[in-house]
């Protein structure tokens, strides 16, 4: 029996008085890999921010035990002018584990090194974060989230704006974190192909439409039409989902 770690009970998400999606009932399980997919503006980031506690639900309750989240924001939202090094940025992940007056210890520095090593950018440790490529920045932010030693890793559009090799290399890294480190992962993307062949469960999200379940149950042509207001073919070839638009000639 898989253990429920986060439970949404009739939750409505939105900003101020503006409701984006109503009556969300979701149970996230331990060691799960959940993809959250929907068109731009569907409320994916709002859903995440509500889950993380950065936004209060407009109604309903969210049951969370004392889990530690590692959060990887959209890369474009982090554009510092100050010349922080990669190590500086990753060390920030350790701050929440320290007391108010504590300074980073040897253990914290080792955790930073381990995280950087895991994402394959140990050699960039002393580089200026601003001088990195998009893929390297994304790995830095993943390393920061790993430095928290999280139970749940949440990634918001991690492959946005990346070239193809970096894109797939990053997806491989995320799959590895789930398969080898047994991390529970929530992966947000507006690219269906990013998540369809990696995740166990899927959340399809659009205004006034919310579907959650095992990927085989949720990934249907009808659900995709409701989500994207467009027609798709969903085929499974050699255990891989192939999703194509019906409008393509």
């Amino acid at each position: 029996m898989e253990k429920t770690i986060i439970k949404f009970n009739s939750v409505t998400i939105g900003y101020g008085k503006k409701k984006i999606i109503e009556n969300i009932n979701v149970s996230l399980l331990e060691n799960d890999f959940v993809g959250i997919v929907g068109p731009n503006g569907a409320g994916k980031t709002t859903f995440l921010r509500t889950l993380l506690g950065n936004l209060k639900p407009l109604s309903g309750t969210i049951e969370k035990n004392s889990h530690r989240f590692g959060y990887v924001p959209q890369r474009d939202t982090v554009q510092p002018l100050l010349p922080y090094t990669v190590a500086d940025v990753v060390m920030m992940g350790r701050y929440s584990l320290m007391g108010v007056f504590d300074k980073p210890t040897k253990k914290d520095r080792e955790a930073v090194d381990t995280s950087l090593e895991y994402v394959g950018i140990q050699h960039l440790k002393n580089y200026n974060y601003n001088s990195l490529s998009g893929g390297q920045r994304q790995r830095t932010l993943i390393a920061r989230a790993l430095a928290v030693e999280p139970n749940i890793l949440i990634l918001d559009e991690p492959t946005n704006g990346m070239d193809t090799p970096s894109h797939y290399s990053l997806l491989d890294l995320i799959s590895g974190l789930h398969n080898q480190n047994k991390l529970t992962i929530l992966l947000v993307s507006h690219l269906l192909s990013d998540v369809a062949n990696g995740v166990k469960r899927l959340i399809l999200m659009e205004k006034d439409f919310f579907q959650y379940g095992l990927i085989d149950e949720v990934l249907s042509e009808e659900n995709l039409r409701k989500t994207y207001s467009s027609d798709f073919h969903v085929n499974k070839i050699d255990d891989e989902y192939v999703i194509t638009s019906k409008h393509r000639n």
Partner: protein, 294 residues
């Protein structure tokens, strides 16, 4: 050398105070510029001036209240006698930073838009307060409102020293939290740091520094020293600590030089301080361009 000796004899606190004011602005300005909230600096200087103008209406006798609580006579205490303008300058700035610190999550208006509204309201209020001020001519009140480096006396100097030490202590002790929330507030929240609280602390310290510095050295000096030294720091530094060091160093060195130049060539000290720092900025920027790094 004779001019320097004269200046030291005539304006010892002005020289030391200008160094402190430049250091405070250079330090806080590094955050203001790197947070891309330069307009916050401009707005806070105007809000502070509006606070000083409000004090001239004498609607609330803060000095009298404090004097009665402590059983002292206002006229015998020079610090208390000058307390009300600084108090309202600080109060107005704190109210604005309290409002501003809560705006980073809202989606309808931009932070710049909110600051713009506060800015014009502050300017308008200042004018209205001055017009209704019973104490003096409008031009006289305006000159008091604007502050002047050369008017820095002993009590202003020690107040500036207090602000400087307070700012450095807060940013040193709570370095981790302030660094994270100013770098990426959403992720800090997600990782268990109370971003709303720490951003509030950050903006309160920034607001205090800017409002009191504006009170003593004027809005033009304060705003320019928030922006120019930190911009020079960002241009020439490769590490975060270097940016702060350069910004504080420029903030410390340029004001006394500009006082000397103002004295020598008979200019106002505030504008002279701005132009001197701007010339340094141009030299640094030009050098970086020539080296192909700008």
């Amino acid at each position: 050398m004779e001019t320097v000796n004269q200046l030291i004899q005539l304006f010892p606190y002005a020289i030391m105070g200008s160094i402190l004011a430049g250091m405070i602005c250079g330090f806080l300005g590094t955050f203001v510029v790197s947070q891309r909230v330069v307009f916050l600096g401009a707005t806070l200087t105007q809000v502070s001036v509006a606070g000083v103008a409000f004090s001239f209406l004498h609607l609330i006798n803060v000095e009298g209240i404090i004097a009665s609580i402590f059983g002292i006579t206002v006229s015998e205490h020079s610090f208390l006698h000058n307390f009300e303008p600084a108090f309202f300058s600080l109060l107005f700035a704190i109210i604005v930073v309290l409002i501003f610190s809560q705006t980073y999550r809202q989606k309808v208006l931009t932070q710049d838009g909110i600051l713009g509204i506060i800015f014009v309201v502050a300017v308008a209020l200042r004018i209205m307060f001055i017009q209704k001020s019973p104490i003096a001519e409008v031009s006289e009140v305006e000159s008091i409102l604007k502050g002047d480096i050369l008017f820095i006396g002993q009590s202003q100097f020690f107040t500036l020293l207090g602000i400087f030490l307070f700012t450095v202590i807060i940013f040193t002790v709570f370095q981790k939290q302030l660094k994270f929330v100013t770098f990426d507030a959403d992720s800090a929240s997600a990782h268990g740091i109370n971003s709303r609280f720490w951003l509030l602390i950050f903006y309160i310290v920034v607001g205090m520094g800017i409002s009191l510095t504006t009170r003593f050295v004027g809005d033009v000096f304060t705003f320019s020293y928030l922006i120019i030294p930190s911009s020079i720091g960002l241009l020439v530094s490769k590490r975060v600590s270097q940016v702060f060091f350069i910004a504080v160093l420029v903030g410390a060195v340029i004001p006394p030089i500009s006082i000397f130049l103002a004295f020598k060539f008979d200019f106002s000290s505030g504008p002279a301080a701005v132009i001197t720092s701007f010339v340094l900025f141009l030299i640094v920027y030009g050098y970086k361009k020539i080296k192909g790094e700008g």
